[in-house]
Symmetry: C2
Subunit: 115 residues, 2 copies
DNA sequence: TACTATATTCGTCGAATATCGAACATCAAC
DNA sequence: GTTGATGTTCGATATTCGACGAATATAGTA
C-alpha cells in the first residue's frame, strides 16, 4: 500500500473522454460491473488473470478517472465505486454496465435491450 | 476515396469496449455529437484543427467501431451515424452525447444533469 | 488530357499504454 | 524482530495511439 493515503482526483476535474477511456478496457469494465453488483472488496475479488502489478495499474486508471475509491482495511485495500460519479455523469455507469452485462443480467439500469 | 466501397463491420461484431474507446477521444466525440445534431455531411463540417490524414484516421476508427457509415457523394464522402448502433447498444449514444454537451445543450437524451 | 477538389493510404515519429517480474512498503500475527 | 499477506512502485519491453507530410486514388471540370 505504499503511502498512507490514495490520490483521488476532485470529481469536477474528471472529463468524459477520460471516463470513457477508463471503461474501454474489458478488465476495467469487468471490475466496475463487479463493484456495482456488490459492495467494496479486495483485489482478489476480481478473478483477473493478470499479474498483481498489472491489476494495480488498472486500479489506478480507474481511480484517476474518478470511478473508484480505495480505502485501507488492515492489510488489505478495499475498492468501491465513487458515488459522486453519478452526480458528475448521471446515468453513464448504469447504461454502460447494463450494456456490458447484456439483456439477461440487467440490474435496473438506464437502457434495456430487448433483442 | 480509394476504393469503391467502405469497409463497415457487421453491427453484431462490434464490442462495447471498442465503442467506448472510439468515443474516448475528444475529437471523435465531437464528431459523433455533431452528427447527432444534424444529418450526413462531408469532412469539412467538423472544424477539426488537424491534418486531413489525421481526420481520416479518426473517421476510420469511428467506422470500424460501428458508429458511423460513409457514403460516396460525387467527389465528397458523406458521413452519418449508423442507426443500428442504437439497436446494438440502446441508449448509449444518447447518454454519452448528452453528457458531453452538458446541461445547457441537452437534446432529449437519457440523462439530464441539473447541477 | 490535364487540373482541381476531396479523401485514403503509407511511412514515420514521439507519447502513452499494457504487461511482466523483482524489489519494496505496510500491516497483522507470531 | 521475523514472517506472511496484500498492494505498490520501478524498470524493461512490446504494442497502440495520435499526429504529420507525402504520395495516391477517384470524381468532376476545363
Amino acid at each position: 500500500m505504499a503511502q498512507d493515503g490514495y490520490e483521488h482526483p476532485a470529481i469536477g476535474d474528471v472529463t468524459l473522454p477520460e471516463v470513457l477511456h477508463a471503461l474501454s478496457d474489458p478488465l476495467r469494465l469487468h471490475i466496475v460491473a463487479t463493484l456495482r453488483a456488490g459492495g467494496p472488496r479486495g483485489w482478489g475479488a476480481f478473478d483477473a488473470q493478470v499479474a498483481a502489478s498489472t491489476l494495480s495499474h488498472h486500479m489506478k486508471v480507474l481511480r484517476m478517472a474518478g470511478l473508484v475509491c480505495n480505502r485501507r482495511d488492515g492489510t488489505r485495500c478495499l475498492v468501491s465505486l465513487r458515488p459522486e460519479i453519478e452526480t458528475r455523469f448521471p446515468g453513464l455507469l448504469a447504461t454502460v454496465v447494463a450494456l456490458h452485462q447484456g439483456p439477461g443480467t440487467s440490474q435496473g439500469a438506464a437502457a434495456m435491450p430487448k433483442a
